[in-house]
């Protein structure tokens, strides 16, 4: 499963979406308490198992699956993936309920257990939950519906073809008979499951009753009344609290510490030095970093003890990274037209550059933090021969072998309860905090412990969004059309393995590689020890900013309208037959959303005095999204974003309310991030709480007008793709307003602020 996910994460997202686990089939599960119908769509083990001649998978007894209908008519649907604020628990419920033909009011959605044998891949990442589960959830709903229809047909002695369903009821129109799903549940449970899920008839889109409507989040009532939904809310009898203090310079070890003194402090039950298990890898944190663990009777006892802790750190293994140094080194490298590694060459770019006067620009973007509001935490209970955990992870499957390795048990002795995640943004695809809890729990056996990170721990030991640099040379032809492009990206790599740092890579197919006759993309990489990880639309959130800012520069240099300039480039491939396989960047879909955004934003029409527009388009996570920012900039360079017009083609929208919420959130996040940075000196982050890292607050949140194309492509996810176009759209609007081109993020470097 780990390899599976890392492969998914590593490959282009469009390819990942097509991945499906093999040998799907239905299985029926024990009805459990109250009986009734419980139906799972069983997912076979990944292909490797059969390739290696392994026996067919034994489907285990599972207490929960996708659909459970009890005789009293209650319908419970199980959402298999972590809820991190992307609204998946609601969206998955809607998809299941649609094909089941359930009345939404009868439905409760619950988080499923973590069990790969029943549910296949379970994670929240890459905006992949919807595209990877669209088919199997519809089939699971339709399969349960088929069994209920079958049960009714038998009861009434009529043909199944004479029956219809609606609102959790099977209907025989000819005789006027009706039976609720609840009344059929026990009979349906005794029937054989449909042999082939793929043979089930799924609804036509025009017949949808739920998909595409507005639904409030299924946990909202619990959230507004303060119910315990998060891992940090877990309370167990006899539970102790723990903290693991790590070296501010990432990777430093403990030389000595006043452990004996700490142990004597009030409320403290234990303190010890942690050697750590993490491999020195910056690609994905893989274990426990060294430090000092403190265990006590309350969070405050432990946090207070931290203030008395005196550690002498051994910095020999610690990061020495310095942002100031990187900025200087990258600047030197950027003068070279080609970097150390060429990732794509088309035609003869050097020849074109030699005979033309290119438009040139050099961009720089900062490291940023996830800063999700719930600090990392996990409750762990080591029982000698097993361990149980409650964790806010985005990638639960990875934590099972990780924890098993740390506590010295087999992975099947690890039980992980998936908790609602208080903000993900990619940070919790890494399970380092789960590892911390498991490690400490093993030292305090048979006692549940709640391992808490402070906010400072969280920002100091984030897996940051990597910073970077891009040097562009673009050549325009006599008509002012883009003729050629040279792009030299300066990014980062692991100092030991030389693997590119997460999200610090340049794809061979990056736009506009396939649209030009002369093009080169290359990379140079600087060694980086700071841990970096996936951060909302990894790679694309910064690629979009440099690329779409530079496209605007080119349009300006060509004295052409920006929208028309970009449409012309996509037009070169318009109408081309759709690529085989999973959907990649589709020029027709791109043109569609750019035109739609321009029309809705009033592009080219007169604006109120002082207002200016900026546009950007980006394709990521299968989503084609164009955004137009309407801004004004005052004399003090304070930027007000009045309105964002967003045109999205993500196929059919599942939950309109949730989808709009994601887009609104992405815009606010992008505005926030424009003005934020993490700098590091001597391997330590310089901003470790919200005072120095002022995430955006309420004032001046813009109006966000969202327009969905609702195309017939398969639906794709929306946790990320609305983010990448926002920053370049705003920066392009700032240029329109002021004539100042923002080439460095955060925009505060050029004296701007976002109101």
């Amino acid at each position: 499963m780990i390899a599976e996910f890392e492969r998914l994460l590593a490959q282009p997202v469009e390819a990942a979406a097509a991945q499906s686990l093999s040998r799907r089939g239905f299985m029926k599960l024990s009805g459990g308490v109250g009986g009734g119908l419980v139906l799972a769509l069983a997912v076979g083990l990944p292909d490797q198992a059969s390739a290696q001649g392994a026996p067919p998978p034994q489907v285990p007894f599972a207490p929960g699956a996708y659909v459970r209908i009890s005789p009293d008519g209650k319908i419970t649907l199980y959402s298999k993936n972590p809820e991190i604020g992307q609204g998946i628990k609601t969206a998955f419920g809607v998809i299941l309920a649609e094909e089941l033909d359930a009345a939404w009011a009868d439905v409760t959605v619950e988080q499923s257990e973590i069990n790969a044998a029943v549910y296949g891949a379970q994670f929240a990442g890459g905006s992949l939950s919807i595209p990877m589960n669209w088919d199997n959830l519809r089939q699971a709903g339709a399969g349960a519906r088929a069994m209920l229809v079958s049960a009714a047909a038998k009861q009434w002695g009529v043909a199944e073809s004479e029956l219809t369903t609606a609102d959790s009821t099977v209907i025989h129109a000819a005789s006027g008979r009706k039976a609720s799903y609840g009344s059929l549940a026990t009979a349906a449970a005794a029937l054989p499951v449909p042999a082939d899920p793929k043979a089930l008839k799924l609804k036509d889109r025009k017949d949808y009753k739920l998909i595409g409507k507005r639904f409030t989040g299924v946990d909202n009532l619990d959230l507004v009344t303060g119910k315990p939904l998060f891992a940090i809310d877990v309370n167990l009898p006899g539970m102790l609290y723990a903290s693991l203090v790590k070296c501010p310079s990432v990777g430093g070890k403990v030389a000595s510490a006043n452990i004996d003194q700490i142990k004597k402090l009030p409320g403290i039950t234990d303190a010890f030095i942690v050697e750590g298990t993490a491999k020195p890898a910056n690609v994905m944190l893989t274990g426990v970093l060294p430090g000092v663990a403190i265990v006590g009777k309350s969070t405050w006892a432990v946090f207070s003890a931290r203030k008395q802790l005196k550690v002498t750190w051994d910095h020999s293994t610690a990061s020495k990274d310095s942002w100031t140094d990187y900025v200087a080194k990258a600047k030197e490298l950027s003068v070279k037209p080609v970097g150390d590694k060429v990732v794509r060459t088309v035609g003869d770019i050097d020849k074109v550059l030699a005979s033309a006067k290119p438009v040139e620009a050099y961009y720089q973007f900062a490291f940023v933090s996830h800063a999700q509001l719930e600090p990392q935490n996990t409750v762990a209970w080591f029982k000698g021969d097993s361990i149980e955990l409650w964790a806010p992870t985005q990638l639960p499957a990875n934590s099972l072998p990780l924890v098993a390795g740390i506590v010295g048990l087999k992975a099947d002795k690890v039980t992980l309860h998936q908790m609602r995640v208080g903000g993900g943004f990619g940070r919790r695809l890494l399970n380092d905090f789960v590892a911390d809890a498991a490690y400490v729990a093993k030292q305090v056996p048979n006692t549940p412990i709640k391992l808490m990170w402070t906010r400072e721990d969280d920002m100091e030991h984030d897996a940051y969004r990597v910073g970077g640099f891009m040097s562009y040379k673009g050549v325009l032809d006599e008509q002012g059309k883009l003729a050629a492009l040279n792009a030299h990206m300066i990014g980062f790599e692991d100092p030991v393995s030389k693997a590119p740092t997460t999200a610090s890579d340049f794809g061979a197919n990056e736009f506009p590689a396939n649209y030009l006759t002369d093009y080169r993309a290359s990379m140079s990489r600087l060694p980086l020890s700071m841990p970096c990880g996936p951060w909302r639309a990894p790679g694309t959130n910064t690629m979009s900013w440099v690329q779409q800012s530079f496209f605007h520069e080119l349009a300006v240099a060509a004295k052409r309208d920006h929208v028309e300039f970009l449409l012309e480039v996509f037009g070169r491939k318009a109408g081309a037959a759709p690529q085989a396989g999973p959907p990649g960047l589709n020029p027709d879909r791109a043109i569609g959303v750019i035109k739609l955004a321009a029309e809705k934003a009033g592009w080219g029409k007169p604006l109120p005095k002082g207002r200016h527009l900026g546009m950007a388009f980006f394709f990521s996570h299968q989503g084609h999204i164009a955004e137009i920012a309407e801004v004004s900039v005052d004399a003090k360079k304070k930027v007000t974003v009045h309105k964002m017009t967003v045109a999205c083609d993500i196929g059919p929208v599942i939950n309109l309310s949730g989808a709009e919420n994601q887009v609104q959130g992405c815009i606010v996040d992008a505005m926030s991030t424009l003005a934020l940075e993490i700098t590091m000196e001597n391997g330590a982050a310089q901003q470790v709480n919200y005072d120095k890292y002022p995430a955006r607050r309420m004032p001046n949140s813009p109006q966000v007008d969202v327009h969905f194309v609702q195309s017939n492509y398969n639906p794709s996810g929306l946790g990320e793709p609305a983010f990448p176009p926002a920053a370049p759209a705003i920066c392009n609007a700032i240029f329109a307003a002021t004539g100042t081109r923002i080439r460095t993020l955060p925009i505060t470097k050029a004296g701007f602020s976002v109101a």
Partner: protein, 158 residues
């Protein structure tokens, strides 16, 4: 021994250090976990509760300072099954994303409507200083206006 009045109930807590912030007494001792920890330095507002009706950041005051005063947490907002107008508006407008900040947001918004039953956008901006990392501000504003409208004419605060 510390005596607190929380959500209308008298609670006693033994053996806590004098400097323990109210936040941790609520969460660890009284198991009222609706009040959240986000930053511990008074920045984020996830820990907002009411002290005699005033919104305070509970990570910033020692619990002993609340002795004898009335503490209200998100769990105490609604009487029985009856949601407040704000809680209802939060559901109707589907405000939460991850939801982690929302109990703090609701506590601040509740205090706002007490002070300004029909708040202007400027008053909302000034009062609502809690961080929502998911960026649900657009909806928070809408929900506050909706709750204010729903409460108007009923003569009661949210």
């Amino acid at each position: 021994m510390l005596r607190l009045n929380v959500n209308g109930q008298e609670r006693t807590i033994d053996g806590i250090a004098d400097d323990t912030p109210l936040l941790w007494v609520l969460r660890d001792e009284l198991k009222l976990v609706g009040t959240k920890f986000g930053c511990g330095v008074g920045q984020c507002g996830a820990c907002t509760v009411h002290l005699n009706g005033q919104p305070i950041r509970s990570c910033q005051i020692p619990a002993v300072a609340a002795a004898g005063e009335k503490v209200t947490t998100v769990e105490g907002l609604s009487a029985g099954a009856q949601l407040t107008a704000l809680q209802q508006a939060w559901i109707d407008h589907d405000v939460p994303q991850c939801g982690y900040c929302q109990s703090g947001q609701l506590m601040t918004a509740t205090a706002l409507l007490k002070q300004h039953p029909k708040p202007t956008d400027a008053q909302i901006d000034q009062f609502m200083t809690n961080i929502c990392r998911c960026g649900t501000y657009v909806r928070i504003r809408k929900a506050i206006h909706a709750a204010a409208a729903a409460t108007a004419g009923k003569g009661g605060a949210a």
